[in-house]
Amino acid sequence: MSILQVKDLTVTFPGGIEAVRGVSYEVERGEVLGIVGESGSGKSVTSLAVMGLLPKNAVVDGSVQLHGQELLGMKEDDLVKVRGKSISMIFQDPLSAFTPVFTIGDQIAEAVRVHQKVGKDKAAKRAVELLDLVGIPNPNLRAKAFPHEFSGGMRQRAMIAMAIANDPDLLICDEPTTALDVTIQAQVLEVLKTAQQETGAGIVMITHDLGVIAGMADRVLVMYAGRPVEQGPVEDIYYRPRMPYTMGLLASIPRVDGEEGPLVPIDGNPPSPAALPPGCPFAPRCPMKVDMCDDEEPPLTPFGGGRHVACIRAHEIEHKNLTGTDVFPVPVIPPNEVVRVPRAERPTVLELDELIRHYPLMKGAVFKRRVGTVYAVDGISLDIAEGETLALVGESGCGKTTTLQQIMQLQPPQGGRVVVLGRNSAELDKAARKALRGDLQIVFQDPMAALDPRMPIGDIIAEPLRAHGVKDDVRGKVAELLRLVGLAPEHAERYPQQFSGGQRQRIGIARALALEPKLLVLDEPVSALDVSIQAGVINLLEELKNRLGLSYLFVAHDLAVVRHLADRVAVMYLGRIAEIGAVENVYDRPAHPYTQALLSAIPLPDPEMERTRKRILLEGDLPSPADPPSGCRFRTRCPKFARLSEAERRRCVDEEPSVARLTRAVDHGAACHYAEEIEVITASENQEEE
């Protein structure tokens, strides 16, 4: 008997925008249904419609039944008895999901008191129990804290505590871990599993992260343009997808255990719900498209084994046993000429030597006084050789962005040295600094915010040229740059809002390339993009590097993307480098406990591996960079430290480790007194051999 039964749900917003066009699914007790889709596919709107939380101007049709009771069109008096009691919801952004002026404990207790007739003190006690259940340390004390005093991960735990306060039958999780760092994400997913065991609830898990779904879901629903296009048990969806969109999606994600070679992108963009193509909405992007696809939208039809597929060629795919890499054209990326020369013989384009950036922590409104120091970057050293990509990875607050700023400013640093293309930033005069900027360019994270909306993109790309005094044939150069990044030269007259996110990021790359730089700094260049778009941009970056002989400093938090794009990787923790080395070394044999935990926290888009692998879970949150622990900064969360003997621990507490080269490898160093290489991710090939 299913708990929730959604049938032919449609949601229409004013202006005839059909955000959801016929979604049907069922959730059973104790079952996890994963709903995946890119932004704008209607997955969040679906769940809000189930909860009855859409704005009043949205027209909802179809049927939503909870235990056979129809929820659509129910009166508010009855609906409030269901919401928060039988169905609970966990939202994406835990920062804004709590009312800022009430304590966490009060807000959880409120959820208890809405549905249960208990006294105030009893509800407060229950809130503390719930906080304890989701693993908040000192729940008694923390219940009295306000939302802004909680870290992101703790807030999401508290959110889960609130959602399970009344033993719901169904939990709807809308991107519950998207805003969190990977190690925190792993913690929260663990809590979610505990919460499910505790309540036996069914879960609807909405996310765009195929790795999270692989680890959590029993069944998966893939949405595209407001409709489900494939539905089935998780293994079938991941190992035997039968709808080209699902196949493309799975082929396009970079994998942390992945092999080399270009990613398989899906061309084009998801259609806008206001202007759907005739017939199958995926047809314009589909490599298997035939004329019949444009005639009518294929319905989601049963396919046997509890599977449903909306594609007229599904049986053919099944018959030929096609996969994403067979169907989608695999781009050819020219080889890199520069890397034929051994690394040691190539010139160094960027060198950081014990770079330091501390910020004073000020207090007081009228009389400011210094109360402390934020050790944002506290002595990091690295170098990038010509034609090389170095990735700087780490969780939020580890100092990645500060490091970038220090490099981009080209000013004398507070401490240490920044040497760009052989020029020390401390010894530059104004003219030399400007000239050097032409060789050092940046691509920003948010392609929406990085382009002036009032400027045609031709002018945006030409701006660096004009700023550096290039006068002749600017138009020709712009056209060439546009072609280089895969856009048409006639696009130069258009404005940024006429482009999709992926195209905007290409424009940003074109602008950065205008001055023919030698070193490109990429600040999370693909993290704001949808999965199917991301692959295309990653391929472009790789191709440009090989063709133009560029070097990249690549800042990212997504370790799978890093593995794909980078040659070397530096892992940062609290303003210091924890581990640095060639990608194969660091990923296959991580030696620092932090790297190990980071790698093991990344969900793999492979249900079997994801469920069988052993996770190294970190405890707690990142300590404040204003008050780093003595000695090794990682020791407060280090799983290895916990296993050391008292005598061994002394060294971790007293002595700060610096990056030491590991004996066996040429390019691999870790800042750990007890570094020990272990394998965290089993490579997919190995698994097959076994």
Partner: protein, 325 residues
């Protein structure tokens, strides 16, 4: 926190001293209290005038800095000096503050409460008829100067009373000296009706606009949706979670209005013939009453700084994010 408040207090004391000194200097150098004695019939001998003015510390023949020193010495000991005709400024001020307070207390509170409610309703019913009605009325009221509004109200009441043949609503003065006891109390309340309406209409209009904007900001926030997802009714979620959060900015305005309440409302007092602080400022300027002007200004400065202090406290009480950091 205590240390922080003390420091704020110290800064405030300095600011009051500066404001009051500047005001005294301005009043003492530009006003001419001698004029009140000079044109009299029969003429008063100059020596007598000088002696009188000397006694009140108002003589323009004494250097202004000397007069200032005398005045400042008095103020430090709590004595604001004498009015132009020898009355005690302290006594006058004490009486008038109470008058202003009686006049403004209800209007200020009512204006805030109704304004917030109307603003919140307006936001919840955005673009509906009630929102438009509240919006248009607010702008109309804000566009009418308070002296026009008060006068219109007084005229309307006068006509109403005449039409009825008896005085339903009082439109001038503070009370009827012929009554006593309970009747007097009711009569005082009756005298309050018109000034309260004229005072609160403006603040209702003002607060409703502010509150509408604040509320709209908050309504789109996730936490309101969370509150409803918990099982709260929309109305409860809106009042308890949304309005509570959206009150913080309006509270600072309210603190200012409350603090400056004691300085009176000049136009309303003059039009409805209440002898409060606002009326006193106008009167004392007309009468070249240097010490009274200085005292009113001093008091206003104290009130403003008290109000800003109050708003700090209020925000700290309402917003835990401020309290902690």
């Amino acid at each position: 926190m205590g240390k922080y408040l003390l420091r704020r207090l110290a800064i405030n004391v300095i600011l009051v001293a500066i404001a009051a000194s500047l005001a005294y200097m301005l009043a003492a150098t530009t006003m001419n209290p001698r004029a009140a004695y000079e044109g009299r019939q029969p003429p008063v001998p100059e020596a007598v005038i000088d002696a009188t003015l000397d006694a009140y510390n108002l003589n323009d023949k004494t250097p202004v800095l000397v007069r200032y020193a005398t005045w400042a010495k008095g103020v430090v000991t709590g004595d604001f000096g004498k009015t132009w005709n020898g009355g005690s400024v302290n006594g006058e001020m004490g009486r008038r503050i109470m008058v202003s307070l009686r006049l403004l207390l209800i209007g200020t509170l009512l204006g805030f409460a109704l304004g917030v409610v109307l603003g919140a309703v307006s936001a919840v019913k955005q673009y509906k008829f009630s929102d438009r009605l509240i919006g248009v009325s607010s702008f109309v009221i804000m566009a009418i100067p308070v002296f026009v509004l008060a006068t219109l109200l007084a005229i309307a009441t006068y006509n109403l009373n005449r039409g009825l043949g008896f005085t339903l609503i009082e439109y001038t003065g503070e009370y009827n000296p012929r009554l006593s006891g309970w009747d007097q109390f009711v009569n005082r309340l009756n005298h309050l009706i018109l000034p309260t309406i004229s005072l609160s209409l403006g603040s209702i209009a003002f607060y409703s606009r502010i509150q509408r904007n604040m509320m709209l900001d908050v309504l789109g926030q996730d936490f309101v949706r969370t509150a409803m997802a918990k099982g709260l009714r929309r109305r409860t979620a809106l009042t308890k979670h949304a309005l509570r959060t959206a009150l913080i900015p309006s509270a600072t305005y309210f603190a200012f209005a409350f603090g400056t309440m004691f300085t009176g409302a000049t136009f309303t007092e003059k039009i409805f013939a209440w002898h409060g602080m606002g009326a006193w400022l106008v009167d004392s300027i007309n009468q070249n009453d240097v010490n009274s002007v200085a005292a009113v200004t001093f008091f206003a400065a104290v009130c403003i700084l008290f109000a800003s202090f109050l708003s700090d406290l209020l925000v700290a009480a309402l917003d835990p994010r401020v309290r902690v950091s």
